[in-house]
Symmetry: C2
Subunit: 335 residues, 2 copies
């Protein structure tokens, strides 16, 4: 296989310019290994991995592949506890607790932002590539990661974000179009209504930055890859396609929803975590509206919704589960 | 120039698989002639042309080119007058009438849907190609148009709409991705939140229908055209790019907004006409929200907004003007 643009291949030291998106909900070490061994870039999301377990996960991957790997981190701003808004959110969900016969959770969990402790774990794990979502951490932490020799990636949803990332030191920009499943990487804007589709976003980002651009959002087969390269991207990042792989951990209700989804089954909503993310539209999204005022800041919304999702799933219902998927979902089902 | 896929070229009898989008607000006979003579398909929108003037417009175009041309029609459902909703809408705008010192208009105009009289004018004008927006007219009218030998096109915003159009007789489907400027062609759904980006929509439509697919939305230069063909489209339809041509009638405030717009400057809103359309976000969209409950059915909303737009424009303000643009707007400005 000969690729026309070697910039990303040389940067990442991979055979194919295809990045498996780091999906906190479904990526396993097995998936990372399989993608790496096939010549792509396997990515492990640390969204659900505490700092003190990162070394162990990376060791498990390293034991099975010598190829470069990508560790991905959320770098949202620190969130202060907000009991008033938290209470308002639980009141908003009160009728669902009653309906499903579950107790409202006491307080929402705080997910620490990317900090010095996480950075220590990262540097110790020494992944070849590090990617961030929601911008970049503090400049001092970025400096440590780059001094450790890691290639640095982050996602941009607008030209302005792409320019900001380049200015702050990324080695390549992931241009995340509005079609993408999962959390929007947006960090200089909160306006979901103006998020840009991949076909329009990629060439505008390519024109705006010098670093290689990775296209993401709506890409699930060779046609999408060819289109992304035609737009000027040096490679692609695919997510939803990998949710159909045997290495993915996808719950039964989610799997059923993925197999039934149509091109227009997904929407962007903040109800599950407090941040906009694309998933298959379901009852909670429809009944609360996509971005209710009461929803707490990321990731504080999650704790109050999780017991509902768990209770509903035991009855086979996807009504309260965040059913991550991108808009190219029907292309992912294969033969 | 050799194009890899000749299906659309043979169907439309044009040299290049590039359709100039029919834009009611800015397309002139001169633009249609220029595009046709350059080997593309020029399209004239009849959105602002009464049935009894269509023959004259087509004659003006025919006098200057022998190439095939496309006449475009809206085929929204008939709207009954709804004085209560109309009043609510004018009350919603009342503070703006006061601010700008204009009188609230008395009653909103009814724009007739595509009917037998319009069909008579169409058949008499005998365009080689006819395209519709918002679905298709009654089957009897579709039959007359096809019996007259016209090639029939219409826009789909979802796979379901594409299948419906093929089943109802179109010769090619325009897959209108969410990036597109102007009115969404949606007719089997009213849910803007689930509209699909071009990169994801095109291959899913290509997989779903037998007829050629024309990609639209976010395409403004050769990269977008190459990407669309890689996705399986047989051609493209471009709109915003033509708004920068000397043949376009674009008001001064609109022209300034187009030149200042960024990739994330546009949003989809119903406030100007009652139907969702993408335009550069401005004060009216921001203050009323994108889809206010009070907005009358298409096209009844327009009459109440128009005096505000006119008064503001005389002061050089774009606050109340529908500033049509797609998300690839920055690619259109050229050198």
């Amino acid at each position: 296989m000969r690729w026309p643009d070697r910039r990303l291949l040389d940067l990442l030291q991979v055979e194919h310019p295809i990045i498996q998106a780091p999906m906190g909900s479904c990526t396993t070490p097995e998936m990372v290994v399989a993608v790496a061994e096939a010549g792509g870039l396997g990515s492990f999301s640390t969204a659900r991995t505490p700092a003190n377990e990162i070394g162990e996960v990376v060791a498990a991957i390293r034991a099975r592949t010598r190829k470069p790997i990508n560790l991905n981190f959320f770098c949202h701003a620190e969130v202060k506890p907000d009991p008033i808004r938290d209470d308002a959110w639980r009141r908003r969900l009160a009728r669902y607790y009653v309906e499903l016969g579950v107790d409202a959770p006491g307080t929402s969990a705080i997910r620490d932002p990317f900090d010095a402790e996480m950075c220590d774990a990262l540097v110790a794990a020494a992944p070849e590539i590090v990617s961030f979502h929601f911008g970049l951490p503090d400049a001092s932490l970025v400096r440590r990661i780059k001094d450790a020799g890691c290639v640095l990636l982050s996602s941009a949803t607008t030209v302005e974000e792409a320019r900001w990332l380049e200015h702050h030191g990324v080695d390549a920009v992931i241009a995340q179009g509005a079609e993408a499943g999962g959390h929007r990487g947006m960090f200089l804007t909160t306006d979901v209504a103006t998020q840009v589709g991949t076909l329009a976003l990629v060439p505008q980002v390519v024109d705006a930055v010098e670093v290689p651009v990775i296209a993401a959002g709506g890409i699930a087969d060779g046609r999408g890859i060819a289109a992304a390269l035609a737009l000027g991207a040096s490679g692609v990042q695919c997510g939803t396609a990998y949710m159909f792989c045997p290495e993915a951990t996808v719950s039964p209700v989610h799997r059923i929803a993925l197999r039934a989804a149509r091109d227009d089954s997904t929407a962007i909503s903040s109800v599950f975590t407090g941040r906009p993310a694309r998933s298959i539209a379901n009852r909670l999204m429809r009944e609360l509206g996509p971005h209710p005022d009461a929803v707490p800041q990321f990731p504080m919304a999650s704790a109050a919704v999780r017991p509902l999702a768990q209770a509903a799933e035991t009855k086979g219902s996807p009504d309260f589960t965040q059913l991550y998927a991108g808009q190219a979902v029907t292309l992912c089902r294969g033969a």
